[in-house]
Symmetry: D2
């Protein structure tokens, strides 16, 4: 059994990790920390865990994380980078679900997150935890930077096109829509039901923190810099990301075959038949990224539709997938749930 702990479990990625790990056959959950909620049973805060999990939140100071095999950070960005070095030194492996280790360039990180990075020396070692790109490196990683939700949907959508070099990588567009849980469980006016329900809006058009992460990943796939316009939107759904991706095709190729071949054997990427439209509810609660590729009206614009559950393949599920890879378990272990529809 893997002895695992979660730091900062009161948000949505935290409760989702608990949902998945509490049923995982190879994991013993030894601690979940929250300074503010120490002593409170997690099932008091999240009714869905009643009967499934007996754990109470514990104070980070007393949680003895250094005795674990693996620690998940489900904290706001900026927390993990202060605690990870000590854990690694104790031989604990770490999966960070925040953005602390996603960018390889410390200066870029500082530009977007507004403070110096606390351990820039680890940025090179941290493995970007998108298994479909980096499976082999994840296997042996001490520190995995779990990708952001938008970056997961966008990168898996563009990946075959960029690897094959069949589109104009200088003019990529990612028009992405997220459910409101993507904003987290923090009490903020713009995430209130009466603000976000029955409405739709773009946000962060001038610049969103996931932009450099996506750009870094796409540039790696292509082998040189890409041009990307990224526009995130808020849709009145709880979970789900739908990325609609646009790229001008520059080389004749069978797009459907390209996608099917690239993702053949991938347990969590599902390429739909020609002409399909994936729905976010079709992956609600599941670790699947579902894709469809279109070239409307015979023009040269490729349109890729990519959906994930932002809390699963976009966060906690991908973290469990990374854990499975790191600890030589079946990659689908604990992740076989059928999505909840309707």
């Amino acid at each position: 059994m893997i002895r695992a702990a979660i730091v900062g479990g009161t948000g949505y990625t935290g409760v989702e990790l608990l949902r998945l790990l509490s049923r995982h056959p190879a994991v013993e959950l030894v601690a979940i920390t929250s300074r503010k909620e120490a002593g409170i049973p997690v099932a008091t805060m999240f009714q869905n865990l009643r009967g499934h999990l007996d754990l109470a939140f514990s104070d980070p100071a007393t949680a003895q994380l250094q005795t674990c095999d693996l620690v998940f950070f489900a904290t706001p960005t900026g927390v993990a980078m202060r605690q990870v070095p000590e854990l690694l030194a104790s031989g604990v492996r770490v999966i960070d679900l925040a953005a602390d280790f996603r960018l390889r360039d410390a200066a870029l990180w500082t530009q977007w997150y507004g403070e110096p990075h606390a351990c820039p020396e680890l940025l090179g070692e941290a493995v970007y935890g998108l298994p479909e790109m980096n499976r082999e490196q994840i296997r042996t990683a001490r520190l995995v930077a779990n990708p952001g939700c938008y970056p997961t949907a966008v990168q898996l959508g563009f990946l075959p096109l960029l690897e094959a070099g069949v589109v104009d990588a200088g003019q990529l567009i990612a028009d992405a829509k997220s459910g409101v849980s993507g904003a987290g469980r923090k009490a903020e006016t713009h995430s209130l039901f009466a603000e976000a329900a029955d409405s739709f809006k773009a946000y962060g058009v001038p610049g969103h923190r996931h932009l450099p992460e996506i750009r870094q990943g796409l540039s790696m796939l292509r082998g040189s810099d890409v041009g990307l316009t990224f526009v995130p939107h808020l849709t009145p759904a709880i979970r789900g990301i739908h990325a609609t991706l646009y790229a001008r095709q520059t080389q004749v190729t069978d797009l459907q075959a390209l996608y099917e071949e690239r993702y053949r054997g991938e347990p969590f990427v599902d390429v739909m038949p020609v002409g399909s439209h994936p729905e976010t509810r079709g992956v609600r609660g599941a670790n699947t990224c579902r894709l469809a590729v279109h070239r409307p009206q015979g023009a040269d614009m490729v349109v890729v539709l990519s959906v994930i559950d932002n809390l699963v393949k976009g966060a906690a599920g991908q973290a469990v997938q990374n854990m499975n890879i790191m600890f030589d378990l079946a990659e689908t272990s604990g992740l076989e749930q059928v999505a909840l529809l309707p």
Copy 2:
């Protein structure tokens, strides 16, 4: 392995049965019938089943249901009663998720469903499939009438009070709220998103078909007729029933202890601590009925809050629970999912 089939699987109870049975360790799903959709893979209709279920809908005429161990009817009321006698005669056991066999009185059935019953002789044999009331009879039943969604939430909520005889059973009130999936997947104007979203209404106040079913069950619990006012409402949620139950207490008793003792050991009824308020999302996708008992302001009115997922404990999950009992499996087999929150 239990060889099981589903008759009529294109509605929400059908897809939910598929979700549960496709992961059930002791079930081999051999057929799902739909005359209209024959030949279509179920995963084409329901994206969540992609990769989980390879079955296509088959024509009822060719489905060879008589070779199964168990047939689920997920059909509109009025279908099962025409096909069940022949299946029983072939030695097949049946769980009907519709209302064909829920009422024991054929005349009452006709009064509410507007046609003569096709096999009134089976009404006496059919076992009402609420395990918390009838577990022993279910074990050996050939034919189980799976309870309605409202009746499940209301009966489990009133059960301890009526068995103990501590309330005025002549003035019971059940104010129940259901998500829109309770209306089924039939295309009807009043179930459209633009009709049901961002609104709330009562319906069927003069008389709803679940009224006689609930009255029959509560009267059995009490041992004589009860007086019941039942008001169903539509709430803009996909899944979930919340029943708010009112009864005047006539005898001093520790209500919390009464509920905890009655349901101790029940795997799918969860009595919350004093002062709690269950949320429907806390049982989303799970087979749990979660209860809280209140006596506000020290008055003699008992208020019971009872929540279920109408498609799980209120339909498909309870059917699987009944199957587990009928076939001597662990009662929780295939039903251990943690509810999806948020």
Copy 3:
């Protein structure tokens, strides 16, 4: 023109007052105060006001409220009672949309609101602003206590029954459901989209602050104390209250005629035909309370369905109605909007 100001306009009752008053033919809106937002144009915070209202929030200290004919308080409870005496002394009339002046008994107020009342001497003078009960007193009032949202829906629903004395007033039940805007625009976890959407729950069952207000009103209508069980629920809609009311009929009477006669001529109470079910969306944005009266299955339990828009008839619209009465305008002035459906 009435020179009017709003104190505390950054919440939902505030923006709703702005929507209504900005189009009111007899009102000049001279100030809207918010210490925190002073200087910010209201249309920056609320996009719907762009092009309709040029006002910016102003600091309460400089707003010169004493020069107004009328001041609305759209503040949290506890603010108005500290400022109203001085305004009244300056000859300004006041409509308080919070709970400061709704209870006539200062001790009861303290019991529910947890602090001493700042001007108990005004509790007797304040007129409870439910026009259908108190129209004549409102006409000349200096200080109007605008009713709460639940109290409006519940009292208008029970009023004809209690005035006529045809039900058992010792066992009244109000099962009420509110949209999430009822919780205000304050950033709180339980009001987040991802907490409140696609779910349903009761809250405050042991005791809700609207209980004493409703009980006071119903007791006045009846002429003596009533017994009331009040259970509020949260429904995933933005606006709307649906109160389902239960009372045992003790005297034969034509209920439909009773309601139609009592409310004949009332501009904002609409009694539906026999057998109807009002929807909250049918009053979305309108100042209407829509009622239907049932006596299901010929039993003696009366069921009244009462819907309002909590922000209009339950708050800002009723305040404008009160203003119209106080200033001898047509009672419907500025309140003729057709509800927005769908």
Copy 4:
């Protein structure tokens, strides 16, 4: 007073026309037809009209439409083209809210709508009713083709760019999101609450009927053919369209000034300040198109955000605006409502 009638008023554009026209100071609504609902008061079907409109649906055969000044067609596409010639011959002016007269090329119309056009000779005369493009022609038109919802949002968003010739018109992208009311009030499975709620998807990516309409309009603005990729999506909101538009800037210009100048004086187009994000709820129930222009990260990709209420500026409100122009009324007459927020 304008004597106006509505043909086919049981859908959402019908009820929305009723909401607007019932309060319009210069319109006498003389008939609303529906063969199926003849005799039923419209307020029975749409509760929001209770107390505002006394009209019942009438049979088209007896409605005497030829005595009207103006007839609105709120029918499915394909109905108006069969009835309009006779009405025009009787001197009645017509506004068609369906697609019968939106395309100028009969062959193109047939290609997208699958049948021959019934009166191709009128396609040249019909005026495309987008006042911001064609105000002068609308003034004297006998027959106005009211634009589609997507086309309104997309064309108003691209208009200044194309008129000014500052972008690459060969690679335009319109990523559009619509609330579910855009699919109409017809009972169809994919529009059910339990199908569309809490989910998000693209649809019609290979080709949507609004594509040729938008392409025709944009090509007129530019003066030659444009290249356009149009991807519509369904968002779980009742009303609202949000179009996110992408175009590569080819010429230096002050985009904010370009938009502000082009729309200065337009009563129903609102250009927001630099850096803004319009919300669909900010125009809920209002006839406004609200725009924001971005050029993210200093790249050459222009991003325009354009929101409308699909039932108002995208249908009924724009029809009333066209009527106001045709009959020399103030263009804002009957359209001054403040949007409903929250």
